[in-house]
Subunit: 342 residues, 2 copies
Amino acid sequence: MGRKLNLEDIAKLAGVSRSTVSRVINGHPNVSPETRRRVLDVIARENFQPNPAARTLVTSRTQVLGIITPQAATSIFTDPYFPTLIQGVTRVANQHDYAVMLWLANTGEDADPLYRRILGSRLMDGVVVASVVDGDPLIPQLIERDFNFVVVGRPTFDNLNYVDVDNRRAARIAVEHLIRLGRRRIGTITGRLDMVAGQDRLNGYKDALLASGLPVEPELIAEGDFSEASGYVGMKALLERGVDGVFAANDVMAISAMRAIREHGLSIPGDIALVGFDDLPMASAVTPALTTVRQPISRLGEMATEALIRLIEGQLSTPYQAILPTQLVIRDSCGAVTRTGR
Amino acid sequence: MGRKLNLEDIAKLAGVSRSTVSRVINGHPNVSPETRRRVLDVIARENFQPNPAARTLVTSRTQVLGIITPQAATSIFTDPYFPTLIQGVTRVANQHDYAVMLWLANTGEDADPLYRRILGSRLMDGVVVASVVDGDPLIPQLIERDFNFVVVGRPTFDNLNYVDVDNRRAARIAVEHLIRLGRRRIGTITGRLDMVAGQDRLNGYKDALLASGLPVEPELIAEGDFSEASGYVGMKALLERGVDGVFAANDVMAISAMRAIREHGLSIPGDIALVGFDDLPMASAVTPALTTVRQPISRLGEMATEALIRLIEGQLSTPYQAILPTQLVIRDSCGAVTRTGR
DNA sequence: GTGAAAGCGCTAACAA
DNA sequence: TTGTTAGCGCTTTCAC
């Protein structure tokens, strides 16, 4: 691998000075069209790319974004939530000429030193933060260092930049759907209640019952944690107590709940109607019977990243807070009827 | 956010020179224990982290690894392959004080300019490359620039550094399992045949048949592409031709194949025995009946990264080629019997 | 419109 | 063992 060219070399080849080349590269005005063309030619011919380290050293901008996500999220959300989100982030980032660094942190108090290292490193211009749990020291840490960041999923703190889907309304609509089907003993298997998404979905469930004049019975609320196992256990508990409809706070739990229902000798849309959340794509393949809430996850990643970039470039009026609508997807045995979430 | 400290500041606070601080940070010998302690104290107290850009500028090492994966991979492998791999990569990278950059590239010929940009950028010391398809210009590009890289999944090129599972042997064992169950008309739904994994799994299927004296019948080979849709279509075709056993090259296809079988009015372990590949964790929840090949995907990411780091640091004897064993996981309605893959 | 020169924060050769 | 100094490759005043 021959030595890399630098600005000086390009300047020499184009018969101009280093600064002129720099101006051309950075699109500054005050370069004669003729010179600009000559320089661009050389750059293209030599396939020149300026050294990002040198550039960062002087501008203290890295053109790198981070995405920080608790390691747990990749196992909790066995569904493709994580890759989908990342896809949205990288797409937008790359479009705007940003690279993306990925940090999978183990959540919890002991994560603090790791966060210090990450945030103190001047490696990134800002970060997208996903799936924070209550009490995670990341957000306070970010605020303290006034780091640029946008959260995916509404945080407990106020006045932060975030994007989220309307979990509460989505859950409400899901449960109202069950009510409209004539179900009256509707249970729920909750997500992690130390995550806002889990709380919101539970509240939406309650909203729907209250609005319809149905009682909110604690025994019909099985606390889960978004995991497969908890869906199964939660459903077993609800079966004990008798239900004719269930709202599961995500599809992973919905699917293991289905297994529990079948093992109990009951049929799915008949004896117990089930609505899931997350739209794990696999679910549709396996379980055409499952009604589910579809989230625009990729869009979430894109919007977070767009906001972050504007924040970095000083053109975002904060706090930026976007709430995206969801869809309730109802399937019959063959096709799928899609209803907007409102 | 107050101005960041630099080496000079630390030096002043510790009453030494810039170079001594540098020596301490980089663990050079020839620093008196006393001085070292004093400097370390100041560094700890001030929470100092050296500026990576400046460091990179002079050492031309970034302490950043990349992971490049065709965008398609995140949709083809709807299963958690991708997040699991990434998890392995980031864990090892962070352990060794490397950051990780993520690039999701659209594969195909038009990806070439993107690759040039990525690889020409001096942003990374090396990359882990995942799921390359035949004809993708990435590998030639990497070789041309003699970039440090390790491939996950055996590449078509020879003499490269790679880690892979033993796809061929795993497929063979899967099919031998079907044969042992007494099946004689065993079909397969293949993966993408422009990916080595797809080819290997098909070859393993043939190996098993040949070794058992069964004929390899082209009509029992349905070409798929790892996608849900192709599993369904492929299975329909095989049903036309009559089979009593099927090896699907991944679980996504296996699951849609199950749907096709059921719609055809046949029972799964009874009429048609099915073996899948990839061990999509969801599969076990949905389909206790499905036998599947489990791959150590996270381990794959870890080993690739360990090798890459050794390569970067000049202590890897190349070519480094690691083939990991798989497991055939056979489930009965309750528990799971696990057999090693050989 | 263009060039000369200073300096970003670090490492590494060389002197002491 | 420690300090001095010369760059690494770029951006950015400041002259012209």
